[in-house]
Amino acid sequence: MGVHHQIIVVGSGLSGLRAALEAKKNGLDVAIISRVQPVRSHSIAAQGGINAALGNASEDSTNSHAFDTVKGSDFLADQDAVEVMTQEAPGIVYEMEHWGTPFSRTKDGKIAQRPFGGAAFPRTCYATDITGHALLHTMCERSVYEGIKVYEESLLLSVVRSDNSVCGIITLNIKTGEIESFSADSVIIATGGYGRIYGNSTNAIINTGSGMAFPYMTASVPLKDLEFVQFHPTTLYGTNILMTEGARGEGGYLRNKNGDRFMKNYTPNVMELAPRDIVARSIQTEINEGRGFDNAYVHLDLTHLGREKIAERLPGIRDICIYFAGLDPVEKPIPIQPGQHYSMGGIACNKDCETEVSGLYAAGESACVSVHGGNRLGGNSLLDTIVFGKRAGHYAAIYLKSKPKKDCTTAIDAELKRVKAKVNALENSTGKENPSKIRSELKAMMVTNAGVFRDKAKLEAGVVKIKELKERYKTIHLLSKSKKFNLDLLRNLELEGKLVLAEVILKGALMREESRGSHFRTDFPTRDDAKFLKHTIAYHTEDGPKLEYRDVNISKFTPEARKY
């Protein structure tokens, strides 16, 4: 039956590592399975910062943080979860500082904080513009200190359940090519986002969403709010590498081809510091109405900030521009366009990270707790990963104490056999279709049909296209038969998951006939609380997702029109 651990965490980004550390602290036998070596996880790429009402730059309160988060979410966030996240934020940030995170500092030696969109005060703690790097290294360092076991370069393919509880997982060992099984009393999914379903994404190439798709397909755990896809307003034209919101936080301007700071026409009070969904739509509108450059991008102008400030606060951004765009932002404005950035939706779970399957937990970007609702504020995701990573580890440990004894051998063996047969069939497939074509058509379709602006016709066409791609996927052939590091096999296993998630996004967006947060329907441009102040829950069936709605937890903050 393979290896056994009491708790298996899938994913070694911030949320996975934090979950494992918490389980370990509870004296449990925990191991991590990850697609990559931990420091290669996508959390490394976060630039701008992590939110916590420390009050180091000006007055602030956790209540204000909670309100901004709920308002930013367009009232779709669950307020009990937001309460937990914002209250725990200062403690979490101090803990990371104690573990060694090299935060940037104020004159009096405290953790520095910068303004971010949608926040009433400068609340975003940062380490220049490599905050994710600084945090992920600290978390990896801590896991070395605690001796956390990591099985790296293994891809989760299946979550095994029997009756209503989890039994373990099946993986592909990328280095050897073997299909392996792990039994566990509890499994925590912390596999990050699915950005690479889209053609223009800021995400790491490994962010294919397989960690959401496979549990959904194999363990029937539902997904929540997948139609809420965040488009970051400022990604480098061409490669879509992120230009952090910190660039606007530090005073950067957005200009169209006439040189106008166009945000004055959209959100004159907060200008460039409006929340992401609004800025992304404003930029896209400028482009669509012919005021962008080459019908494709606008400028992020930092030139007035000066060499010194850019070197001190945004050195990584400067390097990226020099290497990837051949320009120095000290001298020239940066060409930017909106790009897919974050998934507000994910595996459905509650504020204790519990899913519908006993013993199965989810945290971080692969989960939907939901603290971000229809739109996540910058700096709240790193916070989410650590707060809920810790909680997932904590509640999994509690679960273990009262868990009924159960024999999972049969269930795991059967699933191992099924997955092996499936992979085998893929390896020996002799179809005509080149899977790379499916992958690129999917990416292009998602940008056009489920992008910044949506409507019924585009979404319906997208659903039709997905059906076609799914059919074609059945007739692909692999290009390689090598056992070790077979990227062809790996990427085509991931592709199946991408198609499944894309369908959930499209159908959820089609059903949601309103505009809320990042989900903007040109045919239904207003928010409709009467019908849609609800979470979308998707269950997997062979014919695509079965969708239901579930109430949002509203406590302190009554929904009101969202104005900035």
Binding site: E97, F103, G316, S482, K484
Partner: protein, 233 residues
């Protein structure tokens, strides 16, 4: 057209590495990593290489490109100014397959230097204060992405399999120089070992290749000074 000469090796079937040639359309804005994906998708599905962020922050894609260790994602074809691009795995490392090398040794050394902040005093309720000046001292070292480019370029690391190497030593200095760390003596002892800092012959190979413009030699020299001081006292 650009010619890619790529080193191929599958230890399961090949006795020794060989070069295979591919032609890729001359798209100057393309990075070497994108070219590898092009080859994978269109010319040869059996090619293996590592990737993750494609933005020069995760350290996955370090390899030997036109005579030098670089990040494939950060290296645009146009900056190489060459019609032929030769790509091999990081030198002196065990090859798993093609461009993928075994990084276990590298990370074992990283773990040896105790890569975590050590401070046994009672944790304050809020942050430990650190002045802007104190923070500046580690500004460069914290940028390390553990890609292994320096390690694999280091002649001493190639000769002495146990030498801690530039990346681990830079990490050691990152903590040594952190005003919040209280294990200076312990750290000096770890790096003052048979396979520690004094094996560094200051060849600067590491500093030359670092994609993050870090100078490991600086950290190593600083540690040498610290150890000398410790020995004297």
């Amino acid at each position: 057209m650009i010619t890619f000469k790529i080193e191929r090796f599958d230890p399961d079937v090949d006795r020794e590495p060989r070069f295979q040639t591919y032609s890729v359309a001359d798209n100057k804005e393309m990075s070497v990593l994108e070219a590898l994906f092009y080859i994978l998708e269109n010319l040869d599905g059996s090619l293996s290489f590592r990737y993750s962020c494609r933005g020069a922050v995760c350290g996955s894609c370090a390899m030997h490109i036109n005579g030098r260790n670089r990040l494939a994602c950060q290296t645009l074809i146009k900056t190489l100014n060459s019609k032929t691009i030769t790509v091999s795995p990081l030198p002196h490392q065990k090859i798993i397959k093609d461009l993928v090398v075994d990084m276990d040794n590298f990370f074992e050394k990283y773990e040896k230097i105790k890569p975590y902040l050590i401070n046994h005093s009672v944790e304050p309720e809020k942050e430990r204060l650190q002045s802007i000046k104190e923070r500046e001292k580690i500004d460069e070292m914290v940028n390390c992405i553990l890609c292994g480019a320096c390690y694999s370029a280091c002649t001493m690391s190639a000769l002495d399999g146990k030498f801690l190497g530039p990346a681990a030593l830079t990490k050691a200095y990152r903590f040594y120089a952190d005003s919040r760390d209280t294990a200076k003596k312990e750290r000096a002892e770890i790096v003052d070992s048979e396979h520690g800092i004094f094996r560094c012959h200051t060849l600067f190979n590491c500093s030359e290749v670092c994609p993050k413009k870090i100078v490991p030699t600086y950290s190593i020299q600083k540690l040498k000074g610290a150890v000398a001081k410790k020995r004297l006292s």
